[in-house]
Subunit: 142 residues, 3 copies
Amino acid sequence: MKNLEDRLAIHDLFVRYATALDDGEVETVVACFTSDAVLESPAIGGIQGKGAIRAFAERFAAWREAGTQFRHLITSLAVDIDAGGERARATAYLLVLISKDNAHRTLPPGRYECELAKQRDGTWRFRRRVVFHDHDYTLDGP
Amino acid sequence: MKNLEDRLAIHDLFVRYATALDDGEVETVVACFTSDAVLESPAIGGIQGKGAIRAFAERFAAWREAGTQFRHLITSLAVDIDAGGERARATAYLLVLISKDNAHRTLPPGRYECELAKQRDGTWRFRRRVVFHDHDYTLDGP
Amino acid sequence: MKNLEDRLAIHDLFVRYATALDDGEVETVVACFTSDAVLESPAIGGIQGKGAIRAFAERFAAWREAGTQFRHLITSLAVDIDAGGERARATAYLLVLISKDNAHRTLPPGRYECELAKQRDGTWRFRRRVVFHDHDYTLDGP
């Protein structure tokens, strides 16, 4: 099947990103992105580059250290690989659950819109990862 | 692997159906079904055919226009393709989240039971899509 | 793709396990495990072997008979197959929803850590399945 390996690699990238973010594995998160990648979300606004992405992941790692456990649940992944095989777009649904003080809550459901690039070593990375939530929220809870 | 392309195509059909329904893309929803397909659910009873399915999708599109965002989360897809390769059955879990007025709620969890048919052009469509929810609910909320 | 059939078979094992547990299909649950498999969870402690696993599945079947419907939603599956191709580790996120008396609730989100073994007939089974939840809970509700 055309692009099957790429499809599975992009699926695995989403899983690796979400679980590393939740587990506080900062460098694994950083390695999911190209060096000039852009992240946008209502919680963080827009950031770009390795330093900003590392700081973003460190914030989650610090929350985890302090006892707040995030779970980024990703479903309904759809992948569209360009004819050239070097660029892709992917969308997915996102449901974030947060556990703290022996209770849990859900953030408003949302979705990812992502642009990806295949690297020279054959791996895929996010070039741009935008998250939308279906209503407003604040993260001051964690 | 036997039927691998069919398996992935059926996965993609579920994702396309759910995201199009949530996004208010009426014609994309209609194109997920055969012309004489049957839909059954506790919210709509049983309907059949393109006109009824279009009206079903238009109801979701209108809710979305009015500010109610559905998210049909699909997990645990299991696909069983007939020996002939032209018919399949598929089951999946369904969790629907609804955002409105800056809050969200979940419908009772449930599952899909679907029958599918491969078309002459090689694409798969739903012939019958039945949804079950684990307890009663009403949609008058949206 | 290397190990593609194994990857899909392990995905299907997770789906079969979760849906059989929820559907009260005791023998299907038992057949997901090797004869000396270990299960660990905060709700059950640690158990080992077919008899204990059957009793575990029967407890869910009895709850279902009594009107409590579980849904084990599994997402973010990551599979790591050993070089030899006969052993694997897999992790996944778990979100359990429980419907009873016309209402539903979620257990604290969690994750599976699993060890798997390929059998002589080519099928995969769980050797060890450990579940972690992000905060404490009791099952006396169902």
